[in-house]
C-alpha cells in the first residue's frame, strides 16, 4: 500500500504572529517556519503503518515556495521514502490544493492519503475533505486512532460530542488530529541521509487549478481586550463577579 502525506510549510506554532501595518497580511519575514504540526502527526502515522508492514511506501508532497523544500527534507528525515515538490509562489486555496493533490494521487497510484486536519496558518480545515470528494473516496477526519485491516480502515474520530468510530473502504483520505500519535524526533544522522532521498520538482503549470476563488481584501489584528486586574482573594473575586452580575 502506497501512502501520500501532503504537508504544508507554515509559521511555527510557537510564534506569535504580527499583522503587517498596511493590512496586506501577516509578517513572514524573519519568522521561523516549520511543518504544520498536524502534518507531522500524519507522516508519523504513515511511518508507523510502514513499520507494521501495512504500508510499503510513504511519499510526502508539498505545494509551495522554493524554501518549502526544507520542510520536505525534515519529513524525509523523519522517515518518508521520497518527496514531491509542486513549486508555487502564489497563494494556493484549499480547492486548488485538492485538485493538485488529486492529480498526484492518480499519477502515483496512491492507496491512502494521510494528512493534517487543518493548517495552523489559514485554519481552513477543508483540503482533506475536498480531496476525498474529488477522488470519490471516503474520508475520516479528525482521526485519533487508525487501524487498517485488509481493504478497510477503522478510524476513531474526535467529534464535539465525544468519539466516533467510522469504518471506511480503502482507498480513503484520513486527516490527523493531535492525539493520533506523538511524532518521533528527527535525529541528526537522518537529516544527512534525507539529503540523498529522491525529491522531484513539479511545475504548477502542469495542474489545472482554474476554479472560483476567494479574495482576501484585508488582514487586521483582532480587537484587543480591555486590560484586566488582579484580585487579592476569593472574597474580592466573588464581590467583583457579583457587581458585574455574573454570579
Amino acid at each position: 500500500m502506497k501512502v501520500l502525506v501532503p504537508i504544508k510549510r507554515a509559521v511555527d506554532y510557537n510564534v506569535r504572529v504580527r499583522v503587517k501595518n498596511d493590512g496586506s497580511g501577516v509578517e513572514l519575514n524573519g519568522v521561523k517556519m516549520s511543518v504544520n504540526p498536524f502534518d507531522e502527526i500524519a507522516n508519523e502515522e504513515a511511518l508507523r503503518l510502514k513499520e507494521k508492514g501495512v504500508v510499503t511506501e510513504v511519499v510526502v508532497a508539498t505545494i509551495g515556495v522554493a524554501k518549502a523544500e526544507d520542510q520536505l527534507r525534515s519529513e524525509l528525515a523523519r522517515g518518508a521514502d521520497r518527496a514531491i515538490h509542486v513549486v508555487a509562489d502564489q497563494d494556493i486555496q484549499p480547492l486548488q490544493a485538492a485538485r493538485i493533490l488529486k492529480k498526484l494521487v492518480e499519477d502515483e497510484g496512491i492507496d491512502l492519503v494521510l494528512m493534517g486536519k487543518q493548517a495552523i496558518d489559514d485554519d481552513a480545515n477543508q483540503t482533506g475533505q475536498m480531496l476525498a470528494t474529488l477522488l470519490g473516496w471516503p474520508q475520516a477526519t479528525f482521526a485519533s486512532k487508525v487501524e487498517i485491516e485488509g481493504q478497510t480502515a477503522r478510524v476513531d474520530r474526535e467529534i464535539d460530542a465525544g468519539i466516533e468510530t467510522l469504518e471506511v473502504d480503502l482507498p480513503a483520505v484520513i486527516t490527523a488530529d493531535l492525539r493520533l500519535n506523538e511524532p518521533r524526533f528527527i535525529k541528526l544522522p537522518d537529516i544527512m541521509k534525507a539529503k540523498r532521498k529522491p525529491l522531484d520538482k513539479r511545475e504548477l503549470g502542469d495542474f489545472d487549478i482554474d476554479v472560483p476563488t476567494l479574495e482576501v481584501t484585508e488582514t487586521r489584528p483582532p480587537s484587543g481586550r480591555e486590560p484586566g486586574r488582579m484580585v487579592k482573594d476569593v472574597d474580592e473575586l466573588i464581590a467583583t463577579l457579583k457587581d458585574k452580575g455574573l454570579v
Binding site: Q129, W137, R157, D160, E167, L246, V247
Partner: protein, 313 residues
C-alpha cells in the same frame, strides 16, 4: 435577494443548539432562510427548527441512511437541495459542519468560507486565521453558490417562538456505501453544552489527575456552568476530548470563563477570546493567562477552587 439554506445539526435525535447560531448569521446576511433537517425518524428536530426566529421554511429530508449522519452520505443530499436556487449554503462550524461542508463545496466545485465571524455583505465576511491572532476580510467575487461555516462563538443564537412551515422533502441522490458508522461514544452528561453555555469552568494540567478534576466539576455545578479543559489535561487522560477548549478544541464565548491551573498558551486562548469575562486562577503570577484575564487571582487552585464552590454554593 439571498436565498439561504442552513444545514441543521442533530445529536441523539434532537436539534443541536448551534443551528440557531447559524440562523443568526443568515439573518445578518439577510434574505429567505430555509433550514434542512436530515433524519430517519419523526419530524421532531424539524419542528424544533421551525421555532427558530427568522426561519421561513424547514425542509425535512427523511432517509434510512440519515439515522447515522456522515459527511459522505449527507453531502450528496445537500447538493441535491442546493439545485433549488440557493445563493448560500451554511452550517455551524462544529466538527459535523467542518466535516461536511467542504465535501459539499467540492461537489459543487466552489471554495468555502470557513468560520464566518462577521458579515459585511452577502459575499463579504470576516474570518479568523492563525488561531484568531489575525482577522481577514474575504470576498467571493462572482455568483457561485456561497458555501460557509459559521463561527458559533461570534453569533448569539437566534430567538424562538416562530412557527415556520415544515415540509417533507425527498431528494434524488445516489448515496455511497463506502463509509459506515460503527459507534459513537458521547460524554453527554447533565452539564450545559460548552458551545452555548453562558458560564464555563475549565481545568488544566495543574489538576494532576482525573480524581482531582472533581473540584472543577463541583465549581461548575455550583455555577450551573459547562466544564472545559486544556489540551494538556485531555492528553493526560484526566478528562475526555470533548471538553477541550482552544484552537483544536471548542471555540467558546460564555459570559463568564474561569480558567484554573491553565497557563494560557496561544492555542488555548484562541478558544476563549470572545468570552465576556475571563477569570484566571494560577499560582504563577507570571503565567501568560493573566495577560488576557479580566480578573486574576494568584493562588493554589486546590485551596481557591473549593473555597469558591463553598461560598457560591
Amino acid at each position: 435577494m439571498s436565498k439561504i439554506l442552513i444545514v441543521a445539526e442533530t445529536l441523539s435525535g434532537e436539534l443541536h443548539p448551534t443551528t440557531a447560531k447559524a440562523v443568526a448569521c443568515a439573518q445578518a446576511i439577510g434574505g429567505d432562510i430555509h433550514v434542512a433537517v436530515f433524519g430517519s425518524g419523526d419530524q421532531g428536530p424539524a419542528q424544533a427548527a421551525a421555532e427558530i426566529e427568522g426561519v421561513t421554511e424547514v425542509l425535512y429530508v427523511q432517509h434510512d441512511e440519515n439515522n447515522a449522519a456522515r459527511a459522505a452520505t449527507l453531502a450528496p443530499q445537500v447538493v441535491a437541495l442546493a439545485a433549488e436556487g440557493y445563493s448560500h449554503l451554511l452550517a455551524a462550524n462544529t466538527t459535523t459542519g467542518k466535516d461536511l461542508m467542504p465535501r459539499v463545496a467540492a461537489l459543487l466545485g466552489v471554495p468555502q468560507v470557513t468560520d464566518i465571524m462577521a458579515v459585511h455583505g452577502p459575499r463579504d465576511f470576516d474570518r479568523p486565521i492563525y488561531a484568531g491572532n489575525a482577522i481577514t476580510r474575504v470576498q467571493a467575487p462572482g455568483d457561485f453558490v456561497l458555501v460557509g461555516t459559521v463561527r458559533t462563538a461570534s453569533f448569539g443564537a437566534a430567538g424562538g417562538g416562530n412557527s415556520a412551515a415544515v415540509s417533507d422533502k425527498a431528494v434524488d441522490a445516489e448515496l455511497p456505501s463506502h463509509t459506515r458508522l460503527v459507534e459513537q461514544k458521547t460524554g453527554g452528561g447533565d452539564r450545559p453544552d460548552l458551545q452555548t453555555a453562558s458560564r464555563v469552568v475549565s481545568g488544566g494540567r495543574a489538576l494532576g489527575s482525573s480524581e482531582n478534576f472533581d473540584i472543577i466539576f463541583k465549581l461548575a455545578d455550583a455555577l450551573g456552568a459547562g466544564a472545559g479543559a486544556s489540551r494538556a489535561a485531555v492528553d493526560a487522560g484526566y478528562v475526555p476530548n470533548d471538553m477541550q477548549v482552544g484552537q483544536t478544541g471548542k471555540i467558546i464565548a460564555p459570559d463568564l470563563y474561569i480558567a484554573c491551573g491553565i497557563s494560557g498558551a496561544i492555542q488555548h486562548l484562541a478558544g476563549i477570546k470572545d468570552a465576556g469575562t475571563i477569570v484566571a486562577i494560577n499560582n504563577d503570577e507570571n503565567a501568560p493567562i493573566f495577560e488576557i484575564a479580566d480578573l486574576g487571582l494568584v493562588g493554589d487552585l486546590f485551596e481557591v477552587v473549593p473555597q469558591l464552590t463553598e461560598k457560591l454554593g
